[in-house]
């Protein structure tokens, strides 16, 4: 059983180790290295933990294919963010090492969340993941926007957690069980869904939708994305959403009543609103981070289409889309982070800052361009594979209205993605305020970003290995 818990244990050990190391000797490079080594060890232990087979770890947690895939994805994304943080924090005058500590703690919470099969561990994981993120978002607190984003996220997130707890209480009152399996069994055998159960589910879904920034629970997204330092934005956009989605999937699989019947309509409305609002509101943005925030709302709307469709292919489609989404988002935020490195009071987040970037930093621009094209779903990129899966599932399930929304949403998306791409190639205006380091490519962050671009092309041109990987991640239903 220890073997199955390895990722969790190693990440926890890393957190403690980094904490002690900061107390003993405050040194940026040392602590960053410790973090990276620890997270790498945890990532490498995932195949070993998976090989042990599906296992219960206390009634709260479960390690199976689904969990190992998502833990691997989360650790991969966290590693990427930590490399970005290293480049970013070089210029920060203040305590730097705590950022890594908060990152590892949050990753620990994400792992707990992914492995959870019990409402209690869902809450524990969610909070353990979110609370360090409050600190991370407001880390550069001297920047007004950063502090504002952090406080906004704190208050709204706390409200969402309160909703979630009340929903959990209602469900417990209704079914007498707190683990997903028991919950599903009890509610299925009850026949009619009582109003308490409906209300309980609605509240839990609303809280999770808040975390996933699905419309109409999305109002925090652009402000928090704008305020957070760029590496934290990357973390927020990838890990925090992927972990919540993983637990949502497990909830849906183990509690089938939660996504059939009336809930299909609820999810459809959520999907429509997310696609519509995400794409339309991004049209007017002149801030790259806000634009990426709105586009992530739209992308999660597309993923919801796969959940609504249901069926055998939908899990594969969702996992594939999340994989391509993570790679693309890290690439895009990575370029923003590298352009803002080292930190000097403000991030390079206005699209105006990127004008003419191609003529100064061609390879960095190439990465951002292909990431934008991948978000738009152009073939040759990973984003197309994800979009193809969603389209295939949608046609199979005959969800014509949602497919129409997908087509129109993608067309609108092209507008703002192209606007960013065009800005990169404009002739340079007179004054340049933001500049990436000349030898950015040599730094670990730069290498990571280039590797993301290569991975993205690989996924787009030859997705077969990724498809096989994703097919391993099937949810094992455990009573």
């Amino acid at each position: 059983m220890i073997l199955a818990m390895l990722p969790l244990l190693i990440t926890g050990a890393t957190a403690i180790l980094v904490m002690l190391s900061i107390a003993i000797r405050r040194q940026h490079d040392l602590n960053a290295t410790l973090t990276v080594i620890g997270l790498n060890l945890a990532l490498f232990s995932v195949p070993f933990a998976h090989a042990v087979g599906p296992q219960l770890i206390t009634p709260l947690l479960q390690m199976d294919g689904h969990a190992s895939f998502f833990i691997g994805l989360v650790l991969f994304a966290t590693l990427a963010c930590s490399t970005l943080m290293h480049a970013y924090l070089k210029g920060y005058n203040g305590n730097r090492e705590e950022m890594y500590l908060l990152l590892v703690l949050s990753a620990l919470g994400a792992i707990v969340l992914i492995m959870s099969r019990h409402l209690a561990s869902l809450f524990i994981g969610l909070e353990l993941m979110s609370i360090p993120v409050y600190g991370l978002v407001a880390y550069t607190f001297r920047n007004r926007r950063s502090l504002e984003g952090g406080i906004k996220y704190l208050i709204l997130s706390a409200a969402a957690s309160a909703f979630m707890l009340f929903g959990m209480a209602l469900l417990y009152a209704e079914s007498g069980a707190l683990n997903f399996g028991g919950l599903g069994a009890q509610l299925a055998s009850a026949g009619i869904i009582s109003p308490f159960a409906l209300a309980g589910f609605a509240m839990i879904l609303m809280a999770l939708a808040f975390k996933l920034s699905l419309a109409p629970f999305h109002l925090w997204t652009p402000d928090v994305y704008e305020g957070a330092p760029a590496p934290v934005g990357a973390y927020l956009a990838t890990v925090s959403k992927v972990a919540v989605f993983a637990v949502l999937l497990r909830l849906f699989v183990e509690v089938p009543v939660a996504h059939t019947g009336i809930w299909v309509n609820f999810l459809t409305v959520l999907a429509f609103l997310s696609i519509a609002l995400g794409n339309l509101l991004a049209l007017n943005q002149s801030n790259l981070k806000r634009l990426l925030g709105y586009s992530s709302i739209a992308h999660f709307g597309y993923i919801l289409v796969a959940i609504i469709a249901g069926g055998a292919l939908s899990l594969e489609a969702i996992n594939m889309y999340l994989l391509t989404y993570v790679v693309t988002t890290i690439g895009a935020f990575g370029v923003v982070a590298l352009t803002s490195s080292p930190y000097n009071g403000k991030d390079a987040d206005a699209i105006f800052d990127y004008r003419g970037l191609f003529w100064r930093r061609p390879y960095l621009t190439a990465v951002l361009t292909v990431m934008m094209l991948s978000l738009a779903g152009i073939p040759f990129t990973a984003g197309f594979i994800g979009k193809f899966y969603i389209a295939a599932i949608g046609v199979d399930a005959k969800l014509w209205w949602l497919l129409g929304a997908l087509v129109i949403g993608s067309a609108i998306g092209l507008f703002y993605y192209l606007r960013v791409v065009v800005a990169l190639f404009m002739p340079t205006p007179g004054m340049r305020r933001m500049e990436a380091d000349t030898f950015w490519g040599v730094r670990l962050g730069g290498i990571m970003v280039i590797a993301m671009a290569v991975l993205m092309f690989a996924l787009g041109v030859y997705p077969e290995p990724a498809i096989e990987l994703v097919q391993i991640a099937s949810v094992a239903v455990f009573r």
């Binding site: 094209l373 073939p379 087509v407 507008f415 065009v422 190639f425």
Partner: protein, 518 residues
């Protein structure tokens, strides 16, 4: 004589991509190296395609075996790609794609040659985009796996977007080239998404019927579908091709894109990119959905007629010479649409010739416009006039191609148009009669363009620089090709007869007869 095996298809696909990458990196050496690399790449590509053409046995003798209706491939290359969905990397070559590849190679080499002096900034990156665009087009013409086809269909637009956005000219009324490029991109991508949905729909219907999930063209031919389903899927395909062809009312991206693209971009766009839509209809749109196509044929033919007249009338009203030629492209492509949906051998053969001839003549006209722009620094017809007296070689050549455009016998356009008219008369006499009126309008806009630009009082007296050796060579090759196509088109007929016979067979096989009058 080297014989090629099927791996030549992969090489043909890779050559433009590799050449583009080389050209991009070669800019470090000197501004001229990318130009030479790109030229050598495209000439080598064209040479290889000619050799492959000569190797193929295109003499019309394979006619008898073609009656079965299944495609006869000269060469075929297949590798597994995404077995999960039955997607393979499947390239194949038959007469129709052979001719399209020849056109691509020829016009590609000329596009590289004509932009020799025009592009001064970031030459390597320009040729990267140009060659990758051509590579994408080659992929479109060679792919017979529907996923791969869609892949290249969407992918070929990205380099063209950069070509227009970065090296384009300013438009009339201060319209920016960025908006023209964005409009082009969004129109074609959005319609491409509908194509994707239709492809997935077709594959799923086939999977339901046979239990096999496959994206292969050979397997998907002859899928039996409910009539309503077939019509919807056919419309999905048609919509994507209609935006590209272009069919009025989805054509509004074309004049802007053409007017503001650099010369090589316009040549590429008019000569090659528009033909991918015609090819798509001939290869996929009609054969995959024969019953729905026959039902839809009257509507398509009348859309074609509308396009012919709309394009011609608007061409007469233009003051920007490139926009004028862009609208004539809309008009000529209307002939192609009428011909495709006529369904008999004469019309289909005429469509192939018309596509080739229009590619050559429109390409030539755009090259000449580019040369005029280099000398006059304006595309406005109101600023031109009396140019005949100021240059020696350019005006007669332009007269030659304007005559070709209006369908003067002896040139390829005439052969194409007359065959389309003869064929469509048999299918739908009213359409053919009305279409013939379009020829009159073609004469009007052709002569109008010549009159405004070259005749009348000259705006200034001093002579302009005439065509230099490189430009003369480009023009000579275009003239010879067009004359050859017009006077001796038999090789083209021999090459395409088998593919067109397949298409004709599908048309006649479908139960509904074509209504003679509407």
């Amino acid at each position: 004589m080297i014989t090629f095996d099927s791996s030549i298809l992969l090489w043909l696909l890779l050559i433009p991509f590799a050449g583009g990458l080389l050209a991009w990196q070669a800019e470090r050496l000197s501004p001229n190296t990318p130009r030479w690399i790109a030229l050598v790449t495209m000439v080598a590509f064209f040479g290889l395609t000619v050799l492959v053409w000569l190797q193929g046995d295109y003499h019309g003798e394979a006619l008898s075996t073609a009656i079965s209706g299944s495609p006869q491939w000269q060469l075929e290359f297949q590798r597994d790609w995404i077995p999960r969905f039955g997607i393979s990397f499947h390239l194949a070559l038959d007469g129709l794609s052979m001719l399209m590849l020849l056109l691509t190679g020829f016009l590609g080499a000329l596009a590289v040659a004509c932009s020799w002096r025009e592009i001064e900034n970031h030459v390597g990156f320009f040729y990267l985009n140009l060659l990758w665009n051509l590579g994408g087009v080659v992929g479109v013409f060679l792919a017979v796996d529907l996923f791969l086809y869609f892949f290249f269909w969407e992918m070929m637009l990205v380099p063209m977007f950069f070509l227009i956005a970065l090296w384009g000219h300013k438009g009339a009324n201060g319209r920016s080239r960025i908006s023209a490029a964005t409009k082009f991109f969004i129109y074609t991508q959005a319609s491409g998404l509908l194509l994707l949905l239709a492809i997935i729909g077709l594959v799923l219907v086939h999977a339901q019927n046979t239990g096999v999930l496959t994206f292969s063209y050979d397997d998907l031919l002859g899928t039996s579908m409910a009539p309503a389903v077939e019509m919807v899927l056919m419309l999905g395909f048609f919509f994507a091709f209609a935006v590209k062809l272009p069919v009025v009312p989805f054509h509004s991206w074309l004049p802007d894109a053409h007017a503001q693209a650099p010369t090589a971009g316009s040549v590429d766009l008019a000569g090659v990119l528009l033909k991918t839509a015609g090819y798509g209809l001939l290869r996929f749109g009609v054969p995959l959905f024969p019953n729905a196509s026959i039902e839809f044929a009257p509507i398509a033919m009348w859309l074609g007629v509308f396009g012919i007249f709309y394009g011609a009338i608007l061409a007469c009203a233009q003051t920007d010479i490139k926009r004028l030629i862009a609208y004539t492209s809309v008009s000529h492509m209307g002939f192609v649409l009428v011909g495709i949906y006529s369904g008999n051998m004469v019309a289909l053969q005429g469509v192939v010739v018309q596509m080739l001839a229009h590619g050559i003549s429109a390409g030539a006209l755009f090259i000449l416009c580019g040369e005029l722009y280099e000398r006059l620094h304006t595309r406005d017809l109101r600023e031109m006039g009396g140019l005949w007296s100021r240059m020696r070689f350019l005006p007669p050549i332009m007269l030659f191609f304007a005559a070709a455009s209006l369908g003067l016998p002896g040139m390829g356009n005439f052969v194409g148009e007359i065959m389309i008219l003869l064929g469509s008369f048999k299918a739908n006499a009213v359409v053919a009669t009305v279409t013939a009126g379009g020829l009159i309008l073609a004469a009007i806009y052709g002569l109008l363009m010549m009159q405004k630009a070259f005749y009348g009082p000259a705006k200034s007296d001093h002579a302009l620089a005439d065509l230099n050796g490189r430009e003369k060579l480009i023009m000579l090759s275009l003239i010879i090709t067009l004359l050859w196509l017009g006077l001796y088109p038999q090789p083209v007929f021999d090459t395409s007869v088998v593919s067109m016979q397949n298409l004709h067979f599908l048309f006649t096989q479908a139960a509904l007869p074509v209504q003679p009058a509407l």
